[in-house]
Symmetry: C2
Subunit: 402 residues, 2 copies
């Protein structure tokens, strides 16, 4: 059989790590999966979407727009909704020409790699980082160098040292309620990061899908809001605030970058699903978003609180875990030499419980993160969270005693 | 500003060619555009889709499936519809494991390039070829080598010579009602091409979006039906038979290839739009497709007939044009040194008529195809076709006299 391209070999390891995580999607009903990062079943505004789709598919020009090819940059109505309700409302001023609609937030990673990354280029990533992004970077034969974080996100001093040392093409960050840790980059560091990007002429890829879903603390502007040189590019998604099934996201960048990205997007898939775009635009146009977002925040806040409470109650003494102000995940570091990577199979078999293996989020390899877990709370009810965490806690405690 | 990747320079010329074509999408109402390749406004089964969407978004598990992440390979219902109604019904037996759903047919080109193409690899393409595919191949820094066609498609003897000479990684073909010429590869040559693929261990990428829409002549099996070695991979689309806005297509290949493609697709966009998938699957499940296809064929057959009749009546003596048995396009070669590339601007300005410039479909460059035009008939009514072709014919005749 014909040889595969070189990149296939390079991405193989990263792909197998990612597949471990997504294997949980669609898992058996009985399993408690803390591993996947999906919205709650209760999170979809079904009736409103049905009402909108009925309206759209009336025999008028709107139906034709929804079923025909769309422009590569995305339909105007949706870009206006992004500009007004998702950017200006969060402290970021942008023009329509700065905004491109894409097929889910993940597509941004590939598009930006196509635009900027040659084989061998260095990308600085957070340690730990979003495993899916790291896999995409490997696909483009980039070298991922990990950078340390603390409770305020990336440590800027160390980051600057690594910029000088590795001359990276790009810095990849999930600054708000980070995936996998839930940590948020402070406002001061956002300003510093935007300055570094300009100073060293490196692209900062700001991946911000969780920012809207804040349960506590004060809102902070995107890094892009502090960008004076055009070096910061922003990627975001509708998956967490409307539905992953619509496969919609957006990019914010300079007009020059957007113009280049249009060619790349055209080559990738011509344009983004227009039915989804028209539906989503109408959802925002009708003013449904603010109430829906409040509903989501209330839904998920209780689940986060349940998770944090249960972890405190049931997990072994000495367990460290983050207390995220938003998003989907809590990051856990187990004490006493507990190896979560090794214990996963037994937990699945005996307890029918799984989680996100901490180790897959580290590009370092070498056993990094073997004592860590990414725990999702958005997709599970409070009862299930308490039940699952209690069982897991007992399980880990039993392993400690030995 | 940061440097772009090397591939951006390589794709720039191809991108500008493609943009000339797609510039016509969404052009002013008054313009008669023979350039774009969109379905007719009358081609969408609006009422049936509305009925289906209402059904799907009832509060049940189906709605949840439609709005949630889906599996990377695509939902089962849609893959079953492909297997039974689009493959088995056309002489190609495949298992579910051989079928992957993608975001429109175009996405297949990028996925296959990621899987097989290293920079510098040779891809044999038809002369002329589908400009969008050629642009994607350039994005992957492949070298496109053109191969001659006649009224039965690719000339196999010449093709084999080029295989020996260039040792290509891939052969790209649109075998049925080719874009841009409307020509169909004969059954005998399909058998030969599948054999060549195995003999020389080269991938044949069969891009077949028009095959369903046949107005005359006998159906021929896909090249993939004659593939004994797994070297033929098939890409197809729902854009021409249902709607481009749903952004759905599919790939048929060996299980080994599909397994690799799942990782690549996961990196590209996680999964294909699930709302579209569920809707499309339901359309096929309810048995709506056969009648809808008949409707499309009748709609477009009249338009093809009008186009061919008008070309015979109004275009300059000595004009050559194809007589396609299906698809969207007629390919025209103007006589007497008429240069369609040069005359386009004047035609747009004076007549408000545009077409697909023949030259952009040739990877040869050097003025190849300057006397050629790709004329779309699917998107225009018969009256508009007669009107536009008469005006264009008069215009070209006036240029000949000089």
């Amino acid at each position: 059989m014909t040889d595969y391209a070189v990149r296939i070999g390079k991405m193989a390891h990263a792909a197998s790590k990612l597949n471990k995580l997504t294997a949980g999607i669609g898992a058996s009903e009985g399993m408690i999966s803390f591993g996947v990062g999906s919205p709650a079943k209760e999170a979809y505004p079904l009736e409103k979407l049905q009402e909108i789709l009925q309206y759209i598919l009336q025999k008028d020009t709107r139906a034709y727009e929804a079923l025909q090819y769309g422009s590569t940059i995305g339909i105007n109505d949706l870009r206006e909704a992004v500009r007004d309700q998702l950017l200006a409302a969060r402290g970021l001023t942008a023009k329509l020409e700065n905004i491109m609609i894409i097929a889910g937030g993940i597509q941004a990673m590939g598009l930006f790699c196509q635009l900027f990354i040659n084989p061998g280029d260095v990308i600085l990533v957070e340690s730990p980082t979003f495993v899916h992004a790291a896999m995409i970077f490997k696909t483009f034969e980039a070298e991922c160098i990990p950078c340390k974080m603390d409770d305020d996100g990336l440590i800027i001093g160390e980051l600057e040292e690594k910029i000088k040392m590795y001359k990276p093409k790009m810095i990849y960050t999930v600054p708000t309620f980070q995936n996998p840790t839930g940590v948020t980059l402070s406002r001061e560091r956002r300003i510093q990061l935007a300055e570094l990007a300009g100073k060293y002429d490196v692209i900062v890829l700001e991946d911000d899908p969780y920012r809207e879903i804040r349960y506590s603390g004060e809102e902070i502007e995107p890094i892009k809001a502090f960008d004076k040189t055009g070096n910061v590019v922003l990627a975001n998604s509708f998956s967490k605030i409307l539905s992953p099934g619509v496969r919609l996201g957006y990019i914010v960048a300079t007009e020059e970058i957007i113009t280049k990205l249009k060619d790349i997007k055209l080559a990738a898939d011509t344009c983004t699903n227009t039915i989804s775009q028209v539906m989503c635009a109408e959802f925002f146009k009708r003013g449904y978003y603010p109430d829906h977002l409040e509903y989501l925040k209330n839904l998920y806040r209780s689940r986060r609180d349940a998770m944090l409470d249960a972890l405190g109650k049931y997990f072994p003494k000495g367990t460290k875990y983050t207390k995220p102000d938003g998003g989907y995940y809590v990051w856990v570091e187990l004490p006493g030499g507990l190896n979560a990577t090794e214990l996963m199979d037994e937990a699945v078999e005996k307890l029918n419980i799984s989680w996100g293996l901490g180790s897959i989020f580290y590009v370092e390899g070498n056993g990094y993160g073997d004592n860590c877990m990414r725990l999702n709370f958005s997709g599970l009810t409070e009862g299930t969270i308490y039940d699952g965490i209690e069982k897991l806690g007992n399980f880990f405690n039993s392993k400690l005693v030995k």
